[in-house]
Every structure is written in structure tokens, then in C-alpha cells.
Symmetry: C2
Subunit: 155 residues, 2 copies
Amino acid sequence: MTSKSRNPKAYCYEHPRPALTVDIVLFHRSGSRIDVLLIKRANEPFKGLWAFPGGFVDQDESLEAAVARELEEETGLKGIRLEQIGAFGDPGRDPRGHTVSIVFGGVVDRSIQVRAADDAADAAWHSATRPPKLAFDHKKILKLALKRLADSAKQ
Amino acid sequence: MTSKSRNPKAYCYEHPRPALTVDIVLFHRSGSRIDVLLIKRANEPFKGLWAFPGGFVDQDESLEAAVARELEEETGLKGIRLEQIGAFGDPGRDPRGHTVSIVFGGVVDRSIQVRAADDAADAAWHSATRPPKLAFDHKKILKLALKRLADSAKQ
């Protein structure tokens, strides 16, 4: 964060670059109930709203490393098996500007205790079918992730 | 390209950003033979090697629009139905620096005539199982795309 105050726009490129994030949709299934892990955003945009754990991919960081880092930073969870669900890149999905998010998903077999930290003011399991109001396009992402979960259960 | 000569590094951000590209793996299946559409790279890196059609996502351009634009620019093809295969972001996969590519795939029912243009010196259908030497990590991407194609044929 030091570089922010010293050098507000220090990273320059020849062509414009969309910002790149990862988000994690983690489900817990118990009988017919499906829960999803959400964090309450500590910062703008959408401060105070619930969202998936996630954040910006660092320079020279693999997508898998970014996902593991963000999940641990915001919820304390480590060693969770995750797979790519898809990339979401519609302009307008993030009020900060053009941001493409690569979404990873997973299922855990119990409602693991989580603790909020870093950019998360809170972290908790919520009903995935009746979630609270979500930040960004996370409602759309949740819908797709639930469809994938249902499809994989059929196989 | 004008902005390039005038302003070599005109796009500045507070945090570093990986570059973002899209690539298109287009198959044509005829009996047991599977062909894949490749372009010969007109520019460095990997100039002269074969690669998937693709390129950088423009500012405020959706991923689907970027894919359609790049496919048309480099091969002349329009209106092809494509779906996301996955994102590839390992540092080191592009010698220009950290570049994440979101790969889209599709299958056409005939070996449509293609014409090279823009960043492509040539465009042609090649055996997908015995392809020429490929640029970047496109060999790895092709392997995954072929697996997806085989999996979808089973369903």
C-alpha cells in the first residue's frame, strides 16, 4: 500500500489493460440445503454488501495461487480443492472500470468455520438459493455456479 | 497504432495488471479425423510459428466481442458459435510478460475456407492430433480442448 501513496499510477503499459480478478464460489451441501460462503465487503465499491471472496491477481501470480491467497486472506480457509467455472468480463460489471473476473468453484462437505480478515468485514455461510443482496454481478455468477453444481450431481 | 508511436506507455494504473488475451480453438471433425484452425504468426514473439487465432482484449470490450473480432480479423470467419474452455494464466507462458488468456472453443461441421489477415501471415486447418510446432502454451491448451471435445462427444 506504500507505493499507492508515493506513486498513485506507477504501472504503465503501451495498450489499455482490463483489471483482472479471481472470485471463489464455495458451496456446502447438507441434504437439500445448499450454502455458499460470502464475505461482507469492507471497502468500496459495494461496501457493506455480501460478495464472493476474491480480489486482484498479482503480477506474475498464477490464477491458482491468486485464488488460494485471496480465499485464505479473506476467510482463513486453506487447502480447498477448486476448479474454474468461467470468466466474466462484461464491461460495466465493476464500477471501478473494466474488470474481468475468473471464477473458481468448489464444494466442501461440512460448514467449515471461517474468520473474516483483510478486505472482508465479515465472512459467513448463507443460503445459496436465497442469498442476501450481492455485490457486482455475483447474483448472475451464483446462478451459473448452482447450475454447474446441479449438472455435476447428475453425472 | 498511432498512439503507440506518440505515447509508448500511455496507460497507467495504481496496481500492476497482467495483460489479457483471448484465443480460439476451432475444430472440424470428419469421421475419425479432427482438424484445428491455426494461424501462422506474422509478428514476434514466436513469429513464423503456428498458433490459435486470438489477441488482446480491448478496453471495455466483452470477452465474446473480443473473440468474434479476433477470429474475423485473423481468419475471416464470422458467426461461429463458441464457448469458454478455460483461462490459462501461468507466469512465463508469454515471453512479453504475464499474460492471461481466456480460451474459447467450437466445432464446425465442415472445413470452412479461411483467409489470413492482420496479425496472421497464414491461416489453415491442421491435424489436431498431429499439429505443427505451436507458439506459447498452445500445445497444452490444444490437449485440454481435445479432451473436452472427447468428453462432450460421450454425453
